[in-house]
Structures are given as C-alpha cells and as structure tokens.
C-alpha cells in the first residue's frame, strides 16, 4: 500500500512540476511588472510562448557540432532529473532513497556545463565571455554550496534530502540544533540560489523549439531551487507518505504557499537591488560562505553542548 502511494506521489510530483514551470515563469514576470506598476502578462502566457516558439523556423549556426544540437534536451533532462528527486509536497516518494543532496548539486552543475559547452561551440566572442563568467562562478559556487548544506547534513547524519527534511519534523535534540541555525543557512542558500539562477544568453545560441526547451530548463532550475530551499529550510506542512492521502491537500497547499513566498522574495529582491552583476557576485558568495561556516559552527557547538 505504502509502495503504491509512494509511486503515486512521485507521479503527482512530476506532473505538478511539469505544469508549474511555465506558470512560474509567467507569474514571476507578472509580479515584476506589478511591482514596477505595469500590467503583466496573463498567467498562461508561458504555455503560449512555448507553442509560439515551436511554430518558428529553427536557425542552425553554420559549423555547429552535435554538442549544440543535443544541448537543450540534455540540459532539460539533467535539470528534470534534479526536479524529480527534490520533494515538493510530500516526503517518502518512491525515489526518495536516491535523493542525495550532493548528487542533485552535481546534476544542476552538469546542466550548467552543457550550456557552457554550447556557448563555446558557437565560436563567437560573447560565447567565450559567457562561458568564462559561468565557469569562474561555478568554481566558487560548488564549495560554498557544500559548506552551506554541511550544517544540515551534519545534524541529520546523512546527505539525503528526505532524511534532512524529516529530522526537522521530529522533536529530537538535533531538530532544535538545526532550527537555531536555519536563518543563517537560509541567507547562504538564498544567495546561492540567486547566483546560480543567473541567466545565460540562450537566444543567441538557439531558436525555435530548442530555445523553448532551453528556457524551460532555465525556469525548471529556479523551481528546483525553490523546492530545495523549501525542503531544506521550511518543510512546514509537508505530507508524509505513511500518513496516507489525507495529508496531501495540506501538503499541496503548503507547497503552493512556499513557492509563492519564494517567488515574491526573489522578485522583490530583484526589484529593489536589481540583478546581481558580476562585480557583486563574488562578495555575495563570500557572504554565503561565511554564513555556511557560521551555520556549521553553530551546529557543531549545539551538538557538543547537547
């Protein structure tokens, strides 16, 4: 019974992600427009954009290699694999034992690398610039990410997402230790999410259907980050697979609320401070690293005292 429920939960989760991505993209554009006092696009415009792009003729760059041809599909597959593994409304989905935090970080990074290779394949000046910027950011982002989640992994004793999310539900000692460190980790992971979702100039490499797929992957990446932040830091109201179907409406509701809250936060930050420029990124990552180390120290001290 529980196995069937967990498979069903996984399928519902995948369907939810597929349906939410274009809506999230459009919703954030609408929010940004609303903050700026302009009328935004309708919420379903994301879907229409995809249809519109698929109707357009595809322009292929002269002398492009199979890397560029395969890049949008591979990038979307890598991001989608991450999206399947990160829980949204319930814990204990059928793939939960494979939802390793380090592996998910690796998948997101691999998706970024595929796009960097496509940019380099164009042989154009902007492609080299975009690639070098993206790579030099990735080099700092990965260690910072690992240190930032180390505090949580330390308290849970594992790098599995479900284990980390579920220790915050029980009333053990480690839950208290983690709760104290959560605001600090939130700052670190929030900065990382902002840096990691900075967009690459997709429309210079791709057009038509491949461009639609690449943009979908970009938005899905943001959604994976939202789900990751939600599962790690705010797993309030998340359903448990053992509790049966009755918890699911509450779980779905809380997932919607979390995603809305995070979308409002990101849009608000972007409206107030603008997007992070390359010059602002490194100090921001320094702040994230300092917060990550602080969280690790807090958890270590908490565990030593307890």
């Amino acid at each position: 019974m529980i196995l069937a429920l967990s498979i069903l939960a996984q399928l519902v989760h995948v369907a939810l992600m597929l349906a939410a991505v274009p809506v999230l993209d459009c919703g954030m554009r609408w929010l940004a427009a609303w903050v700026a006092g302009r009328p935004g696009p309708p919420l379903l415009a994301g879907w229409w954009d995809i249809v519109r792009l698929f109707r357009k003729q595809v322009v292929v760059t002269e002398g492009q290699s199979p890397i560029t041809t395969a890049a949008p599909a591979v990038c979307l597959a890598l991001t989608a694999a991450g999206a399947v593994l990160v829980p949204s409304f319930t814990l204990g989905m059928v793939l939960a034992p494979c939802a390793d935090l380090v592996a998910i970080a690796g998948l997101l990074m691999a998706a970024r690398v595929v796009m960097v290779l496509a940019a380099l394949d164009s042989g154009a000046a902007w492609g080299g610039l975009a690639a070098s910027r993206s790579v030099s950011l990735t080099v700092i982002t990965e260690p910072v990410l690992l240190v930032a989640v180390l505090a949580l992994a330390l308290a849970a004793g594992a790098t599995n997402l479900d284990t980390i999310a579920s220790i915050q539900h029980d009333d053990s000692v480690s839950a208290g230790v983690v709760l104290a460190a959560i605001p600090v980790i939130a700052v670190a992971l929030g900065v990382l999410a902002l840096v990691d979702t900075a967009e690459m100039p997709m429309d210079r490499i791709f057009s038509g259907g491949p461009l639609a797929v690449a943009k979908l992957a970009e938005t899905l990446r943001l959604l994976v980050w939202f789900n990751l932040l939600g599962a790690l830091l705010l797993p309030i109201g998340m359903a448990h697979i053992e509790a049966g179907l009755l918890d699911w409406p509450l779980g779905l509701l809380s997932w919607g609320g979390r995603t809305l809250f995070l979308a409002v936060c990101v849009t608000g930050l972007r409206a107030v401070g603008g997007r992070l420029s390359p010059a602002q990124t490194r100090p921001a990552l320094g702040l994230a690293l300092a917060c990550g180390v602080l969280a690790v120290v807090m958890v270590l001290v908490g565990m030593a005292v307890a």
């Binding site: 597959a77 494979c98 592996a103 030099s136 038509g208 259907g209 602002q280 300092a290 690790v296």
Partner: protein
C-alpha cells in the same frame, strides 16, 4: 605454496623484460610483431590478475632462488597487489597496442622503454620486501627516462624515481631493524600488518611487537617512505615535476608515467600506511595525509585549469587523483586509529575508485594527446579548435575520460568524491572540536577541487575540440587510425561502466582488499547497485540517475523531432559585426576565447633573484591611503555585502576560538 597464477605472472614479467631488451636490436619488420607479443603478454597478465582477484581465496607466495644468502626474495600476490596489477597490465596493454599501431615502426625506442617499464612496475607490485620493490621502481624510472630528449624535468623525474626506490630500500632496512622482523616464514600475508614490516621481509600478524609501535625510528621510516612515495605519486609540495614531465617525453612514455607509474606510487603509499595502521599509529598521521591530499587535489585541479597544453592538463589531473587517493588513505588511517572500520571502508572505496579513474581516464587522455599532436600538429590549446568535426571519435573518448575524472553524476569521479565526502562526514561527526575544523576544510577542499577540475575539463573540450579552428592544420586533422581505435574506446567505456556500477566494481575488484585493510572484521563487502553512507539505507544510485536522464532526454528529443518546423542554416551571431575578411578563413582568431579567463592564476610564493620572498597578492587587497581604480564605493550593494561578509567572518573566527576554549576546559 606455489600458485600457478603467480608463477605465470612471473613468467610474463620475464617475457616482458626480455622483449623490451631485445626489441631495440631487432629489424624493423619484426619489431611490430614484437609489439603484439608484448601486448599479448601484458593482456594475459591482466586476465591473470582478474583471475587471482575473483578466484583466489588465499594469498599466493613464491620464493625466488636468488637474493642474499639468508634473505631470499619472495614474491606474493594478495588482493591489494592483484587490484593494482590488473590496472597496470590494462593500461600497459593499451599503451603498447596504441604505440605499435600509430607510431612508425622504424623508431627503435618505440617499444623497449614502455615494455621494460611495465615489467619493472609489475615486479614492484609483486615484491614483498623493500629491496625488490625499490629495484622494480628504479628499473621502471630508468626505462622511462631513456625515452625522450634530455631535459631538466626529465632529470628530475629520474632522480625522484631513484629517490623513491632508495627510500623503499632504506625503509625496509629500518623496518627490519626496528621491528626485529628479519625472518621470512612465508605465511599468509595479513594486509593490515604489511608495509614496513613486510617491506622489511617479514610477515605474519603475530610478529609485530607492541613495544616498538611508536618508537622514533619507526616514525622516521614511515615519514621517509611517505615522502618518497608521495614524490613519485605527485603529492602536493612535490607535484611540479609530474606536470612538466609529459612535455619532454613521447606520448607513450607520458601515458605510462601518469597512468601506470603514479598508481603504483599510490600503492607504495598505501602499503606504507597499512603498516602504520597495523602498528597503531597516532591519528595525526592520517590528518597529515588528509591535509596533503586536499592541498594536492586543489592544486592539481587548479594547475589543470591553467595549463596551456593537452599533455600537461592530464598530468595535472593525475595529480588531483593522487590527492583524492591520499585523502582516502588519510581518512582510512584516521578511521583505523579511532576504531571506525565502516568509515575506513567508505574512504577506501573512494580511494580505489580514484585510482581506477587515474589509471583508465588519464591513460585515455595521454594517448589521445599523442594522436592530436601527430594529426593536428600541436598540443597547445590556443592552436587547436574545432577538432570535434575532424576527430569525432577522439572527441568522444576525451569527453568520456574527462567525465570519469570530474565529479558529475553519474560518472566515476562523482562516485569517488561522494564516498570520500561521506567518509569525511562520518569523521566530522565522530571527533571533537579542533579536528572537526580539519574535516570541514577537507570537505570544502574536495568540493573546490571538483569544481576546478570541472573548469579544466570544460576548458579542454571547449577550446580544443569545439568552436572554430585556429590554425589551418587543425582544420585538416584526421582521426585516430582505424586499427588503434578500440584502445581508447575500450578504456573510456570501462570507466563509464565502473562509474555506473561502482558498488559492483568495488566488491569484485577491491572487496577483499578493502575488507582486510579496514581491519578484517565484520561482513565481507557485498556487491550492490547503490553506494551507501555510514547510516541509513539511502545513498547514491547511479543507474537510477542514468534512467531518469535517458527518459528525460529521449522524451525531449522525441518532442523536438515531432514538433520542430524545418531548419535553416545561418552564420553565428557576432554581435552585429561584419563577417571576417577572406584572408581569415576561420574568422578572427582574437574573437574566440582561449580559455585563459576561466580560473585566475594559482597564488604562489615566489622567491625573486635577490633572495626576497614575494608573497601571493590576493585580489581586491586595498593599499592604505590609496584608492585603486576598482575599489568599492561604500554605499553600494557590493560594499554592503562585503561589509556584511567581513562581519560574519569575524563572528565565525570568534566562535571557533570559543569552541576551542570550551573544549580545552
């Protein structure tokens, strides 16, 4: 007891020695046949090693009828040497076949050096005492040194090889005298008491005397062996020679240096450490190895992301793998000293996977670098470009090999890094304050090294194989000759398979070795599809990730094929600039990146001619009393972020001091 497998291995080593010695004197027509015989012998050796790993329940020993009167040489094959023999013969066969197929048979030095090197290294792996081990390493170093032109880096390589050999001999002598273990009873070799004691010609777990465990000479012998094996393996402060060496030797010698000799050096390190663990050394030896390993993993990857040629980048990545292996060895030593055998298993798994990556993937990269030099005329990244169109098979092999070295799921490098991170996490949870800082740094170091290696891999592929050609020669390059194609394909395919089934590969190839090195207690290592951490049932399952990726990619490609409107070709968008003139057929070369801006220069301490030490200049350091051009305005977002970062950093330092103080009370 004489084992047929071991006897056959000895025969193979003899055959290789003889072939290597006579091949230079043979006429050119026979020489290619000699190459195939040598490759066959080496391939048979790999099969035998595999057989000894899967079948043999006990260790085989073989007493040689030569040696000093009361101290005859003994050869032995246990699971640890079997594992390394398999890798050695695999890379050796690949190097010989590739050299025979692609290099002109008229060159008398084509074969003899590599073949003698393989035989010497195999002898070192089978040795049970330091003299034979040192002899094998020295012969291999000399054989590699004899190929290629005279140069400072090559001289350094020779001296380091000889230093390592000499140190092994000295350590064996020291080990014999301090431990009082000169007897050779030829009993079953207990891996946990191998190393100094066995290098000194002794075996048998009951013989190690407790009183001698932490004596000064033992520590000195351990330190000396560590320095020698570390230098040969390219461990951190002594890594520079290994990066430079491939530039002054032909690709076949470079292949054997980075893909075969360096893993054997890791083996020497492991033997030495196994002895230390058997003698109950203090955990700080483990901490020292971990720190050295982390530094070399970061420095190796950083150098790889800056190096300009296709030959030095794999060598630097080999240094990184050595660093990862050293981290694994250090974690093992720490785990055994603090009695955590399951943590030792994780660490050893990570170490063995790192060594497999070093042997398979670095070998592919070095072989391919030789092919690129022959066909595209240069090894410099900024003279290649667009090779994927002319050399598709080479490009796919390079990508597969780099995928096995960087930490991206579901690859081999990711599995190794994942196991090391889990072991470090287990260590972090089991120790107290001052050591915990080391483990946090270790995890950050593994992640930084992975990210830098990724930058190096992206740069190598993106600059040399993608984009536009930079020189006319690379636009007419030809792929690897057809008969030699299976060699890199098989090696790259093996690395992909091990990456997808790390649990099964570890259980079959290294299971008995891991079991014995981690103390020999508990259940034997079981084969499983998933890699599991210390606690809980949830882990890393590469096959599930692969299935998700295949499903996602297949669905997306099907949708794209079904719905896309027909295609049209057009020039790449160049920001509105006009097309390059006719005398620049590949476009303006200056508008294409050569990958220099990916990673900044490695900060290093330099000693100037006047003897003054120049410390590294850190980016963004502001001189007092002077506002540089790129300074931070105090009211800006960046300034505020920087101030907040400094404040948090100060808080962290304060808290760390508090923790140390609380622990000291």
């Amino acid at each position: 007891m004489t084992d047929p497998v071991l006897a056959l291995l000895v025969v193979i080593i003899l055959v290789l020695f003889v072939l290597g010695a006579v091949s230079a004197a043979l006429p050119a027509t026979v020489r290619q046949a000699t190459g195939f015989v040598a490759a066959g012998a080496s391939g048979f050796g790999a099969l035998l090693a595999l057989l000894s790993l899967t079948l043999a329940a006990t260790d085989a020993t073989l007493e040689l009828p030569i040696g000093p009167p009361s101290l005859a040489f003994t050869l032995a094959c246990d699971p640890l040497s079997g594992f390394f023999l398999l890798l050695l013969f695999l890379t050796g066969t690949a190097a010989i076949v590739f050299a025979t197929e692609t290099e002109p048979a008229s060159d008398p030095a084509t074969l003899s050096g590599p073949v003698i090197c393989i035989a010497g290294l195999a002898l070192a792996l089978l040795a049970t005492d330091g003299i034979l081990l040192g002899l094998g390493v020295a012969v291999a170093s000399l054989a590699l040194w004899a190929t290629g032109e005279p140069n400072r880096a090559r001289g350094m390589q020779l001296s380091i090889g000889l230093l390592a050999a000499g140190a092994m001999v000295i350590v064996s002598a020291l080990g014999a005298s301090t431990l009082g273990l000169a007897s050779l009873d030829g009993s079953v070799l207990g891996l946990s008491t191998l190393g100094v004691s066995t290098l000194g010609g002794a075996s048998g777990s009951g013989l190690v005397r407790l009183a001698d465990r932490s004596s000064l000479p033992t520590h000195l012998a351990f330190a000396l062996a560590l320095v020698a094996a570390g230098a040969l393996a390219g461990l951190a402060p002594l890594h520079r020679w290994l990066v430079l060496a491939p530039t002054v030797m032909p690709a076949r010698a470079g292949t054997l240096l980075c893909g075969a000799m360096v893993p054997v050096a890791v083996y020497c390190l492991l033997r030495t450490v196994a002895s230390g663990a058997g003698m109950g050394f203090a955990p700080w030896w483990g901490a020292l190895l971990m720190a050295l390993g982390a530094v070399s993993a970061v420095v190796g990857a950083w150098i790889a992301a800056r190096e300009p040629t296709l030959a030095t980048i794999p060598a630097a990545l080999s240094c990184r793998q050595t660093g990862l292996a050293a981290i694994g060895i250090g974690l093992t030593l720490f785990a055994l000293a603090t009695d955590l055998p399951s943590m030792a298993r994780l660490a050893l798994g990570g170490m063995f996977l790192a060594v497999v990556g070093q042997a398979l993937c670095v070998t592919v990269l070095m072989l391919v670098s030789g092919a690129v030099l022959r066909s595209a005329g240069s090894l410099r990244l900024d003279r290649l470009g667009g090779l994927i169109h002319r050399m598709p098979l080479t490009a796919s092999c390079v990508m597969a090999a780099l995928f096995g070295l960087v930490a991206l799921p579901p690859g081999l490098g990711f599995a190794a890094s994942w196991l090391l991170i889990q072991a470090a996490l287990a260590g972090l949870r089991s120790t107290s304050a001052p050591t915990q800082i080391l483990f946090v740094g270790l995890i950050a170091g593994i992640a930084l090294s992975a990210a830098l290696a990724l930058a190096a891999a992206v740069r190598l592929i993106g600059v040399a194989f993608l984009g536009r050609p930079r020189m006319p020669r690379s636009s007419v390059a030809e792929d690897i000759p057809r008969p030699a194609r299976p060699v890199p394909l098989v090696l790259a395919g093996l690395s992909l398979c091990v990456g997808l089934l790390p649990g099964i590969a570890l259980a079959f190839l290294a299971g008995p070795a891991i079991h014995r090195l981690s103390g020999g207690r508990g259940e034997p290592i079981r084969a499983s599809l998933a890699l599991l951490p210390l606690e809980g049932e949830a882990g890393y399952v590469p096959l599930v990730i692969l299935a998700l990726l295949a499903l996602g990619a297949a669905a997306t490609i099907a949708v794209l094929r079904r719905l896309s409107v027909h295609q049209r070709d057009g020039p790449a968008w160049q920001d509105g600039f006009a097309r390059a003139p006719a005398w620049l057929p590949f476009g303006d070369p200056l508008t294409q990146t050569d990958g220099r801006g990916f990673v900044p220069d490695l900060p290093s301490v330099r000693i100037s001619r006047g003897g003054r030490i120049r410390l590294p200049r850190l980016a963004g350091r502001v001189q007092p009393g002077r506002v540089p051009a790129g300074s931070v305005p105090s009211g800006s977002m960046r300034g505020r972020l920087a101030t907040a970062g400094h404040a948090v950093l100060a808080l962290v330092v304060g808290l760390l001091m508090l923790v140390v103080w609380i622990e000291a009370l």
